[in-house]
Amino acid sequence: MTYQARPGVALVSICKEPVLIPNREAYAYCKRIQKLPLIWALVWDAISMGKSMDHVVRVNQILSKKPEAEVREKIESVCQKLCEMGYLIAVEDDEVKE
């Protein structure tokens, strides 16, 4: 599964807190404003810049010094939640290849 950032969503910092804010088109799919844990913000930011899941896992593994499998599971879980909240769009790998 690959993820893409929903168009029209901006990651901003309000008083040093990472927050996702959708514009009015994206607002149809997600909450008006969403405060995030830092790791979620880093994941969303990387995906919004087009980074692959492998890259995101690799960076987080270096930072956390945890086994890759554990980090991958955590990142995947974060992506799924962000997808449920509407800030990420899940794209099947077949669609990406096309």
């Binding site: 901003v12 309000i14 807190e17 804010i21 009015r24 404003i33």
Partner: protein, 309 residues
Amino acid sequence: MEQLYTISLAGLTLPCAFHYPEAARALNAFPSEEKPPLLAGGGDRPQGRWRGSSDICIRSSERSEKSILPIPPVFLPPEEWKYFLTGDMTESAGSEANILTAFFSEALMPYDRCVIHAVAIRWKGQAWLISAPSGVGKSTQARYLQALRPGEFDVICGDRPILEFCSPAQPKTSPACRGGGPASRPVEGSSPSSHRDPVCAEASASIIVHPSPWNGKERWHGAPAAPLGGVILLERGEENALKLLKPREAGIPAYLQIIHANRDTDILKKTAALATALAETVPVWKLTTHQVPDSTKLLLASVFPTPTL
């Protein structure tokens, strides 16, 4: 869009245009080739200030072509109406004047100004914002403040005042106090008086609250611009309570009250920056109100104390 107008907001003169000419009159905008009217009752016009055709007093810049900001006219594109008409609202001069708040706010943001949804009151030379979504009781609180302490509180703007961010801590975003332009370059269209504005220069006057044409159904206005002393975020609750918020608690509520058209992610980012500046510059209180005037008395005792002799 046949007729170009200009409007003076928070020390800047913006070009604008309207579908409905009545909306221009409601906002005290003037055709760009006309001079603003003289003071009601005649007499010479004081330098830099004029009183419009309604009883709204708005600061003006110099009335010359050079003083108008070099931006496209602020205008409500026809395709935008559908995003703003809610309930039984229809396209009209009144709704256009109302909706344009968002577009003017966005036009002001590169100049470190924005429109905020709040009642702006003035107490002992400082402005205080009472901010909340519609219907929570901002106007009621302001009315009770005036009733419980007659003569102490005036209203700068009853619905949507304009904030000007002059913080010296943010020089890259606030050259407004030096010349009224955005960070990247000086702007010849900025008000020549803004950087000499005595209101802006006093105190560590980081944020100035300006009157605006949007004064609410009560049409509350009259007090001049003042440096911002603090913000009161109002909410309804089961009991009256008052709490001083930390900046990270105040940032998001402040963000939600800054007005914009919610189209452009760059504007969302700028709004977040302004909300951060607001929350980190002045005290922000959360007033939970269950019953007036008891909640107002709580506010008076803690935020607006009367010095004891």
